[in-house]
Symmetry: C2
Subunit: 416 residues, 2 copies
Amino acid sequence: MEGETKPKLIVQKFGGTSVADTERIKNVARRISETKRKGHHVVVVISALGDTTDRLIELAHRITPRPREREMDMLLATGEQISVALLSMAMHELGHEAISFTGAQVGIVTDSAHTKAKILDVKVGRILEELEKGSVVIVAGFQGVTLDDQITTLGRGGSDTTAVALAAALGADVCEIYTDVEGVFTADPRLVPEARKLESISYEEMLELAATGAKVLQLRSVEFARNYGVVIHVRSSFSEEEGTWIYDGEERMEKAIISGVTHDIGEAKVTIFDVPDRPGVAAALFQALAAENINVDMIIQNVSEEQKTAISFTVSKEDLRKAEEITRAVARRLGAGEVTVDEDIAKVSLVGAGMRTHPGVAADMFSALAENGINIEMISTSTIKISCVIRAEDVKKAVRAIHKKFGLDKGVVMRA
Amino acid sequence: MEGETKPKLIVQKFGGTSVADTERIKNVARRISETKRKGHHVVVVISALGDTTDRLIELAHRITPRPREREMDMLLATGEQISVALLSMAMHELGHEAISFTGAQVGIVTDSAHTKAKILDVKVGRILEELEKGSVVIVAGFQGVTLDDQITTLGRGGSDTTAVALAAALGADVCEIYTDVEGVFTADPRLVPEARKLESISYEEMLELAATGAKVLQLRSVEFARNYGVVIHVRSSFSEEEGTWIYDGEERMEKAIISGVTHDIGEAKVTIFDVPDRPGVAAALFQALAAENINVDMIIQNVSEEQKTAISFTVSKEDLRKAEEITRAVARRLGAGEVTVDEDIAKVSLVGAGMRTHPGVAADMFSALAENGINIEMISTSTIKISCVIRAEDVKKAVRAIHKKFGLDKGVVMRA
């Protein structure tokens, strides 16, 4: 039986909940062991144990409200270093050869944007050496090293990116992302019990799902996968079931018009009033935000009245404090008016590649919201996505209404 | 006033109890800040927070009873990485420039004897660069890196060695070891309330004190200090008082006959019976132990009877399991008899450079024990030290008796 399986190179990534305590680490080790016994080569990427990262952040905040980012990276990188060492020990205990590496040791080279670093290069020499010896190679996710030997981290969910980057650099057959859900769903099953698991999805759609609030994969990891053609398999670390495959190609069975409905309550809205309506104003604001590495999501500029306008934009709540500060400074410089922030917003989005060729999707979405008395505050569209900002309290109702409107609970609506 | 102080280069080392929580880390930062304000250059070495190391060891043991040492080092090195990042943040909060480094980043190059690595080289380029910028340089104690980029640790108390090695490599004026006691005492004040703090002591005496159980400094750090002439100042992190200076030289005021009485309950005794009495037998045993990096302390070989003998030796309890295993294997190979282990022993020692020129010190020590009904099981002497192994339950009585016999409570007994 086993002889039939051609040996593959598989990258397996396990998140923080999969390694929340030593018992779960042992479970992960058994899971890896099964793959290894089938004759495959395995590279494992893991996150910090459970809430370790949050506890480290809390420690830092007890010292100072604004720790420098270089030192935060020194601090946070320890979380994954602990878990790789423990998982390696668990593999030894099961009788497998295994070796752990930090991001720095393995050569995950990043830029120097501390706490949000981007991977520039992955050196695979050391990993290949260990794989040839038959070892399971266990790499600390979420972290890297700059060319001048500073420890960096990749931002929340960065372990996904580590896994995909390693899969790309190694030319792995598949990158398995183990998580606490069974795959990618048409909506968050906690909000919509009728939500269905998708068998497969394209990179493009997964990108939009991740960008609009699906927590299952970090956006950058999907971008990375698309750019390098890495096949991702998102699946549960608690079951043997197949999860959701992410790849492009004609052999994909399921090509639905709509992939899913997502929501995001992690953003806040900043509005700057009475902005002088002249060229360069928006540029001044968003360049200042970009210079501080703040990702702006939606932007709306009001229709101008009396040479004045208002600009609203959304950022992640994590960046709100910094964004507000920068916006106030820019507002003073430009002679603009009041700056307000609003944290009680939610974004609901509808994603589907079939949207391109099916007019009327946006109209249907807006009417689903209207029928439920939900007011739309901002709208943003791409060729395969429509997002609406609404009041946070309406989010559950909104997701359910849209999910139902498009018949996502009833099975696959195939593309023409 | 401050102008009068010539700027010095000071290495300050703070142990785990000095950085047990975030409040204490802030205290340490204030302490460093005072030194910095006097215009000195400061390099700081710190240990892991409080019981972090013990908790990491416990985590590992929940995974496997015998974790591999390379992975233990990966795991344990995180403890100091956390504390340097936090201390650096605390320095920033006080308005000082500061930067943290791991042992690997700073270039503390060690051999590859994981969990007990020895420092081979210290690269100071990066530290000097930061000192020139006016930064406080904060280095993770206890850890280093091999030439092929494996993370190593230096063994219990290794942070002292890191501090002294840095002081030596940097040519520092003094290496201040901050601890939870006020200096080096004539005996452990918890056992002997009359014990006195020593103003100064020679390297040689400090070596014997450390080797025989004084916990205040790690043995290897004193050896390092002696070899490179590093002046050590052991002092309390909770007071401004001067502690004990460790250095050689005529200017040392205090030259007592006896420096102190130490005790050690961390050793165990292994005995191998019916050993064939022929050349090479002892060598076979102790080479096998050395090959596994086990430090043997005292060794006694019985007077031979009928071509058979017995050998007893002591090792630290941490190494007992491994030592017992090796001894049993060697015993089988040599055709020797039973191997027994005894963990209920204590070692009491008397240390003093004046011993060399004062005969009768050993006799006085033995009679102090005899007068208190304490049986001596093993004896070992050097030119400035006498150690006796006794039952563990007698240790307090023994230390007090010897301390009193030599009048250590009454002040300095000056050397002739």
